[in-house]
Symmetry: C2
Subunit: 168 residues, 2 copies
Amino acid sequence: MTDKVDLVQARAVVQQCLHARLQVKPPDEESEAEWVEINRGMVIYLCFFKGANEDIIPKMVSALMNIKLCENESGKYVSVLDLPGSVLVIPQATLGGKAKGKGMQYHGNVGKAEGRQLYSQFVSQCDKELASTAKSSEAGVVVRHGTYGNRQVLKLDTNGPYTHLMEF
Amino acid sequence: MTDKVDLVQARAVVQQCLHARLQVKPPDEESEAEWVEINRGMVIYLCFFKGANEDIIPKMVSALMNIKLCENESGKYVSVLDLPGSVLVIPQATLGGKAKGKGMQYHGNVGKAEGRQLYSQFVSQCDKELASTAKSSEAGVVVRHGTYGNRQVLKLDTNGPYTHLMEF
């Protein structure tokens, strides 16, 4: 029997935001923490599973950039490209967790080197997608992203997160 | 062939927070908006599917209150009961969405009346669980929750959301 769940290559949790701020470098003795931020737009928490292949990235980016998950000024849901809004991508390996007893296990997650590469491709293709859309590039919206492997210290301000799960 | 995905009765997305603030009544002509808030603890976004039965609630509450998803002062992951931390429950029907073309459909979601009842049972059993745990009741941690059917205007402050998906 084929178990559909095991064929999932990537999992994304998507929330809309009014403002989001993510730490990309923790403070150390010499410098303060560094942050990236976006205004109105979409936060994408992202996790890849074992067997994930770079072929999936264009499909994911196209689906996430074009799906109508962002509420515009008149209360209608449009895509982040049509809003136009910014995108904050957050690597979130914990999304691959499976409960075992009182703990979580992450045996299904892709390896670190591979995950880092897929993540980086995802971010750069989001960047291209926004840059190639007249509405987005004219509005000056941006793609920002967290540092793979870091703690993702996040501050999020929403008008309703409208949380969705998307698997690929 | 049994499709495991269709047997899911409930979906929860869980994040840890330092502070979370949720609007439970929008402003109107006569009064300002009303908010609930928690400090350190756990945010649970919750959605029920068709076929969800109240028998699942004790199992869900026990799993979510006891699983080690909260980082304590020494960087160790413990349950929200052991932290001890507060809990913010957010009804989030959008979590039941499935992409169809560029839109989302929610055909798998439980009906409103049933969903409201399951949600209310979930919240009250979380309440009982925290109240019956010495560590939690002594620390004065709380369960707060959004209003079912409302827009969930949320402000979230984290030290790393550590996002997990749990299905029941």
